[in-house]
């Protein structure tokens, strides 16, 4: 029988939540790496028991952990993320040049075909790659050559938070950076291009044709239609039907189009999920009501999903990497909050229940569907 494993990174450790395919009863293990920030944990699609975790601390820096048994035991891997060549400068908040400086790994994206190959998105924004299972990391330097001198940090730091691999086009990959924008490579990282045509950020970027500088919070796609992308920008929910060559807004009837995560239903490529947040200065749900919004039309027409979610006095946030879907039928949807709750739905979002209520603030949620 199928089962699911939810990997939860929090501000004070990692947690592994497991259930059978019914997803009604859960076992919780953790905290793993207690006291450390676990920015992200993700398993290899090739070998689901191979899991990579980003363990960080303001005191002791970056540690990379790897499990070979589904998160039961862990081994320390390489943590040397050294920028290639001359480090160079990006722009700081005040517009002055600032040398790149490694701070932490925000996101691991394991290869779709090789369990030892993993991409890492880091702060200050750059893309790294390992081909030996995490022992050694090399920068993919061409990304920072794509107008990197003009990139500036967002409020959360200049982080490369989204890495998407295209199973149908093996050389194609997407990355997104706050607040530099979104980028695509078609030649396995040798060259990159900004993919921002159609994005509008008039309060941050007065130039309507600016290629970099958009504060992209998250991008998602369905693997069966990799040319269709959905983006939660700082403000605006956007859609592209041509692999990012152009974007158009699909915020439609959302109560607010500010937010962080966005994800796509496992079996319905036009069904997408967002969690509207009141504004860029008030990072909590409008009216104190925690509502996931679902569109079954690829955007523009949205319905609020509220059953089982708090509908009063709720002032948590849901961070960009803290939503995921499983592959079961019906599709399971999961998200974690800064208040430490992890909510799950085993019916595509129609109803929700808390899997755990009192974890440290949740930084990331990933789901593995196991045979």
């Amino acid at each position: 029988m199928s089962s699911v494993r939810v990997l939860v990174g929090t501000k004070k450790g990692g947690f592994v939540l497991t259930s059978d395919g019914k997803r009604q009863h859960w076992e919780v293990s953790g905290p793993h790496f207690a006291g450390w920030e676990i920015y992200h944990m993700k398993g290899s699609p090739v070998d689901p028991n191979r899991i990579y975790a980003s363990q960080t601390s303001g005191w002791f820096g970056q540690v990379v952990q790897r499990s070979q048994d589904g998160g039961k035991t862990w081994e320390t891997m390489g943590n040397k993320f050294l920028y290639e060549g001359e480090i160079g400068n990006h722009l700081f908040y005040d517009g002055t040049p600032r040398p790149w400086e490694f701070k932490r790994v925000w996101h691991f994206e394991p290869s779709l075909t090789d369990r030892d190959t993993v991409y890492a998105g880091i702060e200050d924004a750059a893309l790294f790659k390992t081909t030996d299972g995490g022992q050694n990391w090399q920068e993919v330097p061409s990304l920072r050559s794509t107008k990197g001198e003009l990139w500036q940090p967002g409020a959360g730091g200049m982080c490369l938070h989204t890495i998407m691999l295209d199973a149908k086009n093996p050389g194609r990959m997407y990355t997104a950076i706050s607040a530099a924008g979104a980028f695509r490579t078609d030649d396995d990282g040798k060259t990159w291009k900004p993919i921002t045509k159609g994005l509008k950020s008039p309060y941050e970027l007065p130039d309507p044709n600016a290629e970099v500088g958009h504060c992209v919070h998250r991008i998602a796609m369905h693997p069966s239609r990799p040319d269709v992308l959905f983006m939660q920008k700082h403000w605006d929910v956007m859609r592209s039907d041509d692999a990012g060559e152009s974007w158009h807004e699909v915020s439609g009837n959302l109560p607010t189009d500010f937010g962080f995560p966005i994800d796509v239903h496992a079996h319905e490529p036009e069904t997408i999920y967002v969690v509207p947040i009141k504004s860029d200065s008030e990072h909590y749900p409008p009216e104190g009501k925690l509502r996931v919004y679902r569109s079954r039309t690829g955007g523009n027409e949205w319905e609020a999903l509220t059953k089982g979610l708090p509908q009063s006095d709720c002032y948590v946030n849901i961070l960009r990497d803290a939503m995921a879907v499983d592959q079961l039928d019906a599709c399971g949807v999961y998200f974690g909050t800064t208040g430490g709750q992890v909510y799950g739905s085993s019916d595509s979002g129609d109803t929700w229940s808390p899997i755990v209520r009192d974890l440290p603030g949740v930084l990331s949620v990933e789901v593995q569907t196991l045979a």
Binding site: G58, W59, F60, G61, N79
Partner: protein, 98 residues
């Protein structure tokens, strides 16, 4: 024999429970202690000093014989009480936060 005390999170990372004892050739300096420590416990590389510059991480402190040596030259000889093992060399996570 040099005795080194790690903060709890680095003891966990290095999978050690108590003091670490290192044999280090003279002259014993902070650099030679940290080099030997990282050589035996490579998982500690980058957690105490920057990989590239070997500078102390901002919120790590080095104490010895009731003195704060955090900003001393890494190549200065350490006190005799550290060198002969009478006193431990302390690596400390600085108090920070709110």
């Amino acid at each position: 024999m040099i005795r080194v005390v790690l903060p709890v999170h680095l003891r966990t990372l290095a999978k050690v429970s108590g003091e670490i004892r290192l044999d280090i050739a003279q002259p014993v300096t902070q650099r030679s202690v940290l080099d030997a420590l990282e050589s035996r416990y490579p998982m500690l590389e980058g957690t105490i000093r920057d990989h590239r510059t070997k500078k102390r991480r901002a919120f790590v402190r080095f104490f010895a014989c009731q003195e704060d040596l955090s900003n001393a030259s890494p190549d200065d000889p350490l006190p005799e009480a550290i060198v002969n093992g009478t006193e431990p060399y302390l690596i400390v996570g600085a108090m920070a936060g709110g």
